[in-house]
Structure formats: structure tokens, C-alpha cells
Symmetry: C2
Subunit: 692 residues, 2 copies
């Protein structure tokens, strides 16, 4: 990638290291750029703001400038007739782009840019339109409000991504996600410099794209919920204008029941087939032994390869349980005749033939870990749900890979846990530099068992911004407090783009409660998180299906509680004797509210069926509030909590830690810490307050 | 209109009167149906809910059912594969529609329906698809949450609108409003049974529709902000599927500067012309004396008459100041030659000729009050910004009319004031029944000097729901408490449709403050309203223009403060000695918060230029809080407030009543009442609390 144009500029500047920059100033940049040097002064942003394109000019670039101006106007409340693109050297921001875009965005296109802002103007220099888009997003994140009005600080930024493949996968098979919801998520991706939208388009529960060659795929396999080819083109154009590639996935030979509803002859079983309604791994799988299968796939992949212009084509290849293969005598006969030892080898045979078809249509194949069993050309790319070790093994064999293990946002992990998932860790850390280059990046994955258009944004954002930073920023950018602070700022900006991860919360609680007065429900929901990993499915009261309403409190609460995290920090500081002024007062206010919330929330339980399952959670919250307050009293009095009290409280906390209504009360471990501290304290421990 | 199909059913039922129905049950219906009889029991709404179309079936009806199911699923959190349209007598809701839709929705089409819900099923009967749409909206409003799940109550409803023309006008000329914003507002209109979208498409500040015959209209007259003809068709189809007619307005001969930028030969002055940036009435006007003018208008109106299928075509006709006519010797010569006495007659001459053109293209002309100066056929319709007296005069002359005076939502009036504006009041109340029939209804008008896509919804909603009820429901439905309660419920439902009148509030405050922590700003903004009527323009610090940013606190606060209204009610009850239990405690909490808010808000003033103008408002709020608390103390102690104190407080309140930052502190009059009460009280007045 040609970065030489930037080199002379780079040499002139003395950049401070990133961690210094972070400490010196609170720029709300996410992902953090490679190098940031804060200057003196600021550049005002007002109605006379203008942009000039000084270098290469093309439609995609002027579109990018228009999008940028639209967001900037929105951010500072300017009407659309202000802030224009002009053809003049006096522009506030001058963009100099060296060359034109490719018709289809490529993996590894140069995304590095240099942004220089002084108190008289700004310069954005980059080799490609794509990189200009990245720089414009950085500019937007720099806009601050002040007593003198809106401005960006004087700053020198040189920026370049660590990994070239930074993706978000959305599963639209298990629950259909309408086009406008995908579009707003593409806006969010562009804001945090993600560059691959991986569109998981077929699943046991739905086939989501119109095929003109095989119309029964969508007609019988989608419940009428699919994208027309015109809509697919519309989304691809939308993504292109935001610097995002669109990689389609058609999962095969498993995860394919929906295909068989219209085309049972593709399957290994005898059918008939219906769209799957439950979750999990199912028996139906494509019959890899019939030549007709490959004729079908050749025609189908040919059609889709023309519809989706990206170089990469994802064929899934994961989770085949082999039961239909085992049960089909013809398949067994085929295996015997061709010396195929077991189902793994049969799948390898299938994937290898599919790879040839994909390649024939000019595409590079991508698949999940399992495809690596096959003897495949090293052009293919492995997407790993297994982890860096699996990726490292593939890299050693010469294969390129993308990490998704650790980035499954449906598992309701904390942003911290995703953020600290490092593609070049474990075995991957010990690869040679050349092998490491084969690790292309990663993808956040939004599997869709429990999402609807109403809550999907809150499952993706803001945590995906943390993943985006992991994939873009230097490896040593790892400060959690800084990340959380910047992620919250970014979260607000994402709402301006139309994402609903925050704004849908209260309306959803209101709908569930059947009343507008949800203050007490919010007190509870603010400190509740959905159960983690696959617990929701494992502990479901009834087997969940695609027809299960997503209208429970667990569907509304956020994956990571901000209140819970802040409370935990305050408790940690307090028990370490390092409480900040006022912190204990705040803590007592919270604990009292939790203790008393049960009384206010009680009437709602009578009003809404959907709230009944939350009653025990509320009870537990009340117990935790009271226990925390009592523990604080002991601590404040410098008095050791009695053993009997301790035992009773710990039992209560243990009870409160158990999921109820598939919700976790995230403050329970912190309350436990307070209780333990109150029992352990001795005269030598500093009391946060003078003893009464 | 044939209502006979419903008559036999009507005779069988004994309906209770509406006011009784309102008192007996808290159904959140808005507009209130003509007749409601609550039954016994309830019909569960769950995943097995289904709809059958038993009578006439057509695409528009199945679209309506799909929209209905989509909203119902959204409301109760069901996935889209549930709640289907089925072809079976076992359906939960059976729709029987007598006849098909007209290709273009007509004024006066039958909108009456009958909805019967028992605990086993529901029947919706109507003559037209249009009326079915109205009944389906009523069904959606009946859905309640309960301890047993979602349900609708058993109920018999017969409903029919009072007026056939129930509109919302949006001015997209002064500020361009994007298509998606209009669409969500059409959803809101459908929810409250409005049936005319009046699209004010041309103004001095912008010409907003693509003309293929005269492309310089949009190319030079719109800043690039206009709707393509394809977009216009898309919006009309969207409206048709929601039972809404689309009436275009091209304002002439005044309000037309934007036309002259591309076609100066149309104007009465010598030009050149530029798009107007300021607000008000401007001199430029079409030259009514040149034959070329009418050739142009014939071609233009012909093109637009084909684009907009509605029978009605609005030509504006308002506010010509005549200055360009006075200054043009050729026009003066023409008037002299044709015996045209003054500019009023010249305008009448113009409008009459335009009317003939409109009529030639098969349309019925609509215009503002001023057009009535002309000797026009009585098929035309007058839209009145002057009031019911003007409408009554027109009706007496045989003209039909639509009321807009009293429904200007840009004037920031209370919902109450709009709600009590009655089309058949004043002179109109004394019309003969036949003359009264000529008063077709009314239109809420959203003039767009101070709206952007960000805040336009909050200017239209929820107050327009009150106007919708005035135009739909029986004249005697006038209970304000009931209206406000139902309007708040409807306001929540409107948010589910995608309207942002509530959800944009906090993000806007955050943007203005430049921080997420806007709790103290919200305390102030919750009791502040924008100045009323035309005060904003009259008292603007600098002349506002279309380039003025709409990013002030006055752009974020709501037209009517809910907190302010509730506080006023509580004060009225208290000074009348009829306080409800706990009301005074709540009042003291509020007053204390207002008094102390200044300290919390202070740091934000240093951070944001946009907040500086709010500092004196905050100061006043603090003074009001303290004064109110002191007054309560006097009242509680049964002590008469001293005269000196009284004088000082009333002076302070007077100061606080003055607009600051173009904001009104709506609690000031109530605090004044408290102060006055504390001064007036004698031993005979009951003290709300025992004297200490």
C-alpha cells in the first residue's frame, strides 16, 4: 500500500506517544488514531464553514463530503443551506485526495490519512477516497461545544488502521432485519471506521435474498421476509458511499433447512422440509454426493456472485451434525465408492467443490473454521469462531483469517471483554511477521436469536465501537477507563446518526409496563443485564423459537449496565480506602433507592403480565440495597460486622446472584464486596467517615 | 354518503352517551369515537392473533391489514411471522368491507365503521377500505397491557367523523423537510384519523418540486433541496395506503420569489431575483397583466395536475403587498385600460384566470381567504387563516371552506387552545344546516420558519392529535382533562410509529449543552416554553433567516410544558383549599428543585455558547422556586404574608414573566397565585396543613 505521500510530513512532526496524548486531553476519538499531537488554539465551526476538494475529484468523494456536511450540520444545528462544498483555496477544510476509487472497494486499500487542524483552517490529505472518509469521521469526532461556540481543537493526526478487515456481521436469517435498520447500522459502522458488512443471508430459519433463478428459495423459505435484488443493490451502494464492503454469506451445507422448503431435492434427507422455528444445530444438510447439487450451486452462486460485487464470498461451512448423511444409504454408498472415510472428509469434498465454483465465478471463498479440514488453495479466508489459536494454525498453513471468537455481541459480554480480545494473542502472538499479516482482522458478530428491529441496535452498540478500536488502533491502546469514557461519547454521536440503542430503551420499558410511568422499572432495569453466553437458551422456561415474542424485560435491558460499572468502581475505591469526595454519599443514595424501589415497582406487577417475572429481581434488589447500606454503616462506624449478620447477608447475596427472569443483578458482586469489607475491617483500616 | 349498511346494527344497540362512556372507563381513544359502549370481558391479543378479510378484497385493503399487523406486532413485541392475515372464519378479527376504493381518494368518502369486540373475537364492518383503516386505528388504540397479557376490552363502537376534511399542512418552503420526515408524519396523521396532507410546496424561500417543463424552478429556486417527481409519487402512494389525500399548494401571485430566480420574466419587478433568506411578506409578485404569465401557468399547472392526482389544487393567493404592481408602469397602464380599480381587483382578476386554468386541468381550486375577493364559481374552497367569521361569510355566499385559524401549531399555543377552536363557532354557529355543511373541516398548519427535521415533530405532535379530535369527534367532546390524558397516551403511541417529538428532546439538549449530563438543563427546559404567536420574530436579537441555526434551547423545549400544566393544576387546587393528599409535598419538591437548580446548571453555562442566553432564565427559576416555597410556608402557618414581602415577590415574579432567550417560564403565573394567596389569607381560609 503506497504510503509514501505521507512520509515527508510524518518526518517533520514530533508526535507524542499515544498514552501521553490520551492523558493530556480528553479528545473523544474512537477508534483512537495511530498518532495524535495536540496543537495550540482551535478552529471555529460556524455557518461559514466550507470544504474544498483540491486533489482528485469523483462522485464518491463528493458524496462523502455531502454526508460529512450533513452530519456536521446536524451536530451543530445548522440548516442545510449552510456549510457548503466550494471550489476555493479559502475553504475551512481542504481535502487533497491523490487518486480515484476502484469500482468495487478492495480488501487492503489504503485507509491512512493525515489531518492537520490549526486555528485558521484544516487540511485532510490521503491517497484514496476511502481514507478521506476515515479522516472526515475523525474530524466529526473532534467537534466540541464551548463557551465560544462549536470548534475543533488544533491538532495533527496521522492515522492508519492496524488490520485491513474490520467487520460487523449481522444474521438476518434467524430474525429478519429490515433494510432501514441495516442502513442505520452501516452509518454506525462508518462512524467507527469499520469497513466490512458481512451479511449472513441464509439460515435454517430463513433464506433472505431474492433469487431470480431459484425463486422458491425466497418464496417458500422466508415467510415473505427477504430483500429484493434491487434492495440488495441499494444497500451495497449505500455501503460503498460509506467505505464499507458488503460480503454475502450463504451458509452451506448445513444451516440450510430454509433452502430445502422450496428445493427438497438439494437435501440429504427425504423431506418434506419446513422453515425451522427453533434455535440450534439441525440435521438437514445439502447432499454433497449428487452432481445436480453442484449444477444448482453453480447457477445460484453465479447469480449471487453477479449481484454482490465484493471479491469475497462466504459459504459458511459450519456446524454440520452429519445425521442426514449417516441416514442416507446413497450417500453412504458414495462415500464407500470414493474412499471417503467419514463425514468430515465428505464435508471437505463438498467445500472443495464449492470452492471451485466460487473461484470459477471470480470470487475468493471465505468460510468458518470448519472449512479448513479441506485441502484448499491458500487464497481462501478462514473466519474463526474458535479463537486466535485456530487462526494461528491456519496462518501457519498459509491461510488468511478473520477473528470472530471473542466478538460475538449476542453473548452479552462487557465491552471490556470484547475490547481485550486481541487477534494477535496466544499462539498468534508467536507467529512470524509474515504469518501475522495473514490475520486480516476481525468481525463483531450479531447472531439474531434474540433481536428484533427494536432492540438490535442496543445489542450492537456501543460495544461494537470498542471492537472497532481494537481492530483499528495500535495494539497498546488498552486503557479501559479511557475506552469507556470515549465509548459513551461515541454512543451519543451514534444516536444522532439514527441508531436507537439508547432511544428505544424507555419506549420499550413503557410498552412492557403498559404505562408511561416507568421510573421505578428503570431503576431496576438500569442495574440488570441479560444472562450471558448461551444461558438464555439453556435456561429458557419454554424452548424459544423464532415466534417467541421479544418483549420481555431481558429484551430491553442493556448488555452492559453503566450504573453497575460505575457502582463497582466506587465500591472498589471505597474498600481500598481511596474513595473520592462525595462518592459514599452517592453510593448511599443509590443503595437507598434500590432498597426502596420494590414499594414503587409493586403496583406495576399487577398491571403487566410481562413484568411478573421481574418481581423476584425487584425483591433481590431491595435486599441488596439494604445489605449494602448496613455494610456501609459498619464501615463508617469502624465496627466489625458480626459473623451472624455476615452469614445471613452472604446467603442473601448468593440468592440475588442467581438469574431471575433471565436477568442478572450486576450490583450483587459489589454489594458482596462491601459486606466482606465490613466483616474484615479492623482498627487499622481507615474509616471513610469519622466514626459517630 | 351511504351509511345504510350500518343502520340496522345501530338500532339494535343501546349506546350510552359519550360523556358517560368517558367517565366510566379510561379507554385511550383519540379522537374519541362517536359512540362507545363498553362490554364485559376482554379479547386476548397473542401470537395466534389473525385477521380475515370477509368482504370485498383489494390491494389497498391488504396493505392496510399488513400495516395494522405490523403496528400491532410492534406494540406487543411479536415477531413478524406471527399475527397473520388468514382466509378463515376462525380469525380473531374479521373485516367486512362492502366496496372497493376509488383510484384517487375523494373528499367525503364514507369513513364510518362499526367495531364489535367480544371476548371471543372482533368484527370490523365498514362500507369502504378507507373506513376500515379508521377502525383498525381504533383497534390499535384499544390494546392494553394487563396482568394476564395484552388484550382489547369487549366494546361496541360506532364511529363516524364530524368533518370530511381533516388536514395537516406542512410548509416545506421555508425549511426543506426530507421525505422520510414527511412519511413518519403521515403515519402520525393516520393514527389520529387525519385525512388530508396539505403540502405547501412553494415559498419565497424555496420551490420544492421538480418540474420537468420548467426545471429552473427547482434548479435555481431550491438550493438543491427539492423532491423529485418520483419522490412525490412515492409520498402520494404512501399517503393513499394510509387513507390520506395529498393536496399540493403552489402559492401565487405572492410568496413566489423562488420562482423568479429561474424565471424573472414571471415577476412584476425588474429583477434579478434571489431566493429570500428572511421571513415575512415580500414585494415580488407574479405579473398578472402579461399573457405569457398565463401560458406559463397553464403548462405548469397542467404538469402538476397530472403529478398530483387529488381533485383539489391549492393556489395560495395570500399576502400580496402590491408594491411591485404599484411600481410597474405597464401594470398600472393595464389596470387603467381594463378599469381595474386597485390591487385587490387586480389580484381578483389574476385568481379568476388561474381558477379557469385549474378547472381546465380538471381540478377544483383551493385558496386562502384572500381569493374570495374574486367573482369565482362556488365549487372553489376557501382555506381560512382569518377565522370562523370569515368562513361563515364565505359559506353564506355558497363557498365551501376549511378552517386553519386557531390551528397554527407554529404559534406554540397550548393543546387546550387549539382543542377549543371550534369551526362551527361564532358566526358559523348561526349558519343554516345547509350552510354549515359547506364548512368542510380544518387543517393544522405547520409553518416552517423555526423547524428542522430534528424538532418539527415536537411542534406538530402531540398537539395536532387534539386538533384531530376536534375535527373528528362529536362537538360536545370537550373535557380538557380527558383530552390531555388521552393525548399523552397517544403521544407515546406516536413515538412507536417513528415520530421523534419525545425522543429528540434529550439528544437535542445534549447537543446544545455539549455534554451528556443534562439533568439540570432538563429541569429548566421542562418548565420553559417558546414565546408565543409571532413574538419570536418580533423580539429576535438579530433578524432571523433561513440560515439561522435552529440549535437554541428555544428550539428544543416543547410548545406546551407538561410539568407546567400539572403544577398549575396543583396550585389551583391548593389555593382553592382542595389539595389532594401528597400534592403539597410534591409541590415543595418541585419548588426546591427549581430554587436549587441554578447551582447545578451554572457550570454548563461556561461550557456552551448556546446555553449562555439561558442563564437569566435559570436565575428567574431559582427566584420563583424560593418565592413559591416562602408563600407555601405562610400558607402552611396560616400566617398572612407581610405587604413588603409581597411587593418584593410580585416584582420578582413580574421580572420572571418576561421572556429571556425567547423562553417563557410557564410556572410564573402559578407561583404568583401562591404568593397572592399567601397575602390574602385570613383565619377563615382553611390551611392545607395544621399550623405549626
Amino acid at each position: 500500500m503506497p504510503r509514501t505521500i505521507l512520509a515527508p510530513l510524518l518526518l517533520c512532526a514530533v508526535f507524542i506517544s499515544l498514552s501521553e496524548a490520551q492523558m493530556q486531553q480528553p479528545l473523544a476519538l474512537m477508534p483512537m488514531p495511530a498518532k495524535v499531537q495536540l496543537g495550540e488554539g482551535r478552529l471555529s465551526i460556524n455557518t461559514s464553514f466550507s470544504v474544498a476538494i483540491a486533489g482528485h475529484k469523483e462522485t464518491r468523494l463528493t458524496n462523502a463530503v455531502e454526508l460529512f456536511l450533513g452530519q456536521l450540520r446536524r451536530q451543530i444545528g445548522m440548516p442545510p443551506i449552510d456549510m457548503k462544498e466550494i471550489d476555493s483555496p479559502t475553504a475551512t477544510l481542504t481535502i487533497r485526495c491523490e487518486g480515484g476509487s476502484k469500482e468495487v472497494q478492495q480488501l487492503g486499500e489504503d485507509e491512512s490519512y493525515r489531518l492537520e487542524i490549526t486555528n485558521t483552517g484544516a487540511q485532510l490529505n490521503a491517497a484514496t477516497t476511502l481514507a478521506v472518509m476515515r479522516g472526515l469521521q475523525t474530524f466529526l469526532q473532534l467537534v466540541q461545544t464551548s463557551a465560544e461556540g462549536f470548534a475543533v481543537p488544533a491538532v495533527s493526526i496521522y492515522d492508519s488502521p492496524r488490520f485491513p478487515w474490520r467487520g460487523l456481521m449481522i444474521d438476518v436469517g434467524r430474525h429478519f432485519i429490515p433494510l432501514d435498520v441495516l442502513k442505520r447500522n452501516l452509518d454506525g459502522m462508518a462512524a467507527v471506521k469499520l469497513n466490512v458488512f458481512h451479511w449472513h443471508l441464509s439460515e435454517n430459519q430463513g433464506f433472505r435474498v431474492e433469487s431470480k433463478k431459484f425463486p422458491k428459495l425466497q418464496e417458500m423459505g422466508s415467510d415473505g421476509l427477504y430483500y429484493s435484488q434491487a434492495e440488495v443493490r441499494e444497500l451495497i451502494a449505500y455501503a460503498y458511499d460509506r467505505g464499507i464492503r458488503v460480503v454475502p454469506e450463504f451458509d452451506m451445507p448445513g444451516h440450510s433447512t430454509a433452502w430445502f422448503v422450496g428445493y427438497p431435492e438439494l437435501a440429504s434427507g427425504s423431506g418434506p422440509y419446513e422453515i425451522e422455528r427453533k434455535w440450534g444445530v439441525f440435521d438437514p444438510a445439502i447432499d454433497p454426493t449428487r452432481e445436480e447439487t453442484y449444477k444448482f450451486l453453480d447457477a445460484f452462486i453465479g447469480e449471487m456472485a453477479a449481484l454482490f460485487p465484493d471479491q469475497y464470498f462466504h459459504v459458511g461451512g459450519d456446524e454440520v451434525n452429519g445425521k442426514e448423511w449417516d441416514a442416507n444409504p446413497k450417500i453412504q454408498e458414495f462415500m464407500h465408492a470414493h474412499g471417503i472415510k467419514n463425514n468430515d472428509y465428505l464435508q471437505a469434498y463438498f467445500i472443495k467443490r464449492v470452492q471451485r465454483i466460487v473461484s470459477k465465478h471470480g470470487k475468493t471463498m471465505l468460510g468458518w473454521d470448519e472449512i479448513l479440514r479441506s485441502d484448499l488453495p491458500d487464497s481462501i479466508v478462514i473466519q474463526s469462531w474458535r479463537g486466535p489459536t485456530s487462526l494461528a494454525a491456519a496462518a501457519k498453513q498459509g491461510y488468511r483469517g478473520v477473528l470472530s471468537s471473542g466478538y460475538y455481541v449476542d453473548l452479552m459480554w462487557s465491552a471490556e471483554r470484547h475490547y481485550l480480545t486481541e487477534p494477535l494473542s496466544g499462539a498468534a502472538a508467536n507467529l512470524t511477521p509474515e504469518e501475522q499479516k495473514r490475520i486480516l482482522g476481525g468481525e463483531a458478530c450479531m447472531w439474531a436469536e434474540y433481536v428484533s428491529p427494536e432492540n438490535i441496535d442496543s445489542r450492537i452498540w456501543p460495544r461494537t465501537a470498542a471492537i472497532a478500536e481494537r481492530l483499528w488502533s495500535p495494539q497498546d491502546v488498552r486503557d479501559l477507563n479511557s475506552m469507556y469514557r470515549r465509548m459513551e461519547d461515541e454512543s451519543q454521536r451514534l444516536e444522532w446518526l439514527g441508531l436507537t440503542h439508547n432511544s428505544s430503551y424507555i419506549p420499550m420499558l413503557r410498552r412492557i409496563a403498559g404505562t408511561d410511568d416507568v421510573a421505578s422499572l428503570k431503576v431496576l432495569a438500569d442495574v440488570a443485564e441479560p444472562v450471558k453466553d448461551y444461558t438464555r437458551e439453556e435456561t429458557a422456561p419454554a424452548p424459544p423459537t423464532s415466534a417467541t415474542p421479544l418483549n420481555r424485560v431481558v429484551d430491553a435491558v442493556r448488555p452492559e449496565s453503566v450504573t453497575g460499572r460505575q457502582f463497582a468502581m466506587a465500591v472498589d475505591e471505597l474498600v481500598a480506602g481511596k474513595s473520592r469526595p462525595g462518592a459514599e454519599v452517592q453510593m448511599r443514595t443509590l443503595l437507598s433507592r434500590w432498597r426502596d424501589n420494590q414499594i414503587e415497582l409493586q403496583p406495576l406487577f399487577e398491571k403487566s403480565l410481562l413484568l411478573k417475572e421481574v418481581a423476584p429481581v425487584s425483591q433481590n434488589l431491595s435486599v441488596l440495597g439494604a445489605a449494602g447500606l448496613a455494610a456501609l454503616d459498619y464501615l463508617d462506624h469502624g465496627e466489625q460486622a458480626p459473623a451472624l449478620w455476615l452469614t445471613a447477608q452472604l446467603a442473601a447475596v448468593e440468592q440475588a446472584q442467581k438469574p431471575q427472569g433471565q436477568l442478572l443483578l450486576v450490583i450483587a458482586p459489589s454489594v458482596e464486596k462491601l459486606i466482606q469489607a465490613s466483616a474484615k475491617q479492623t482498627a487499622s483500616m481507615p474509616s471513610p467517615l469519622p466514626a459517630k
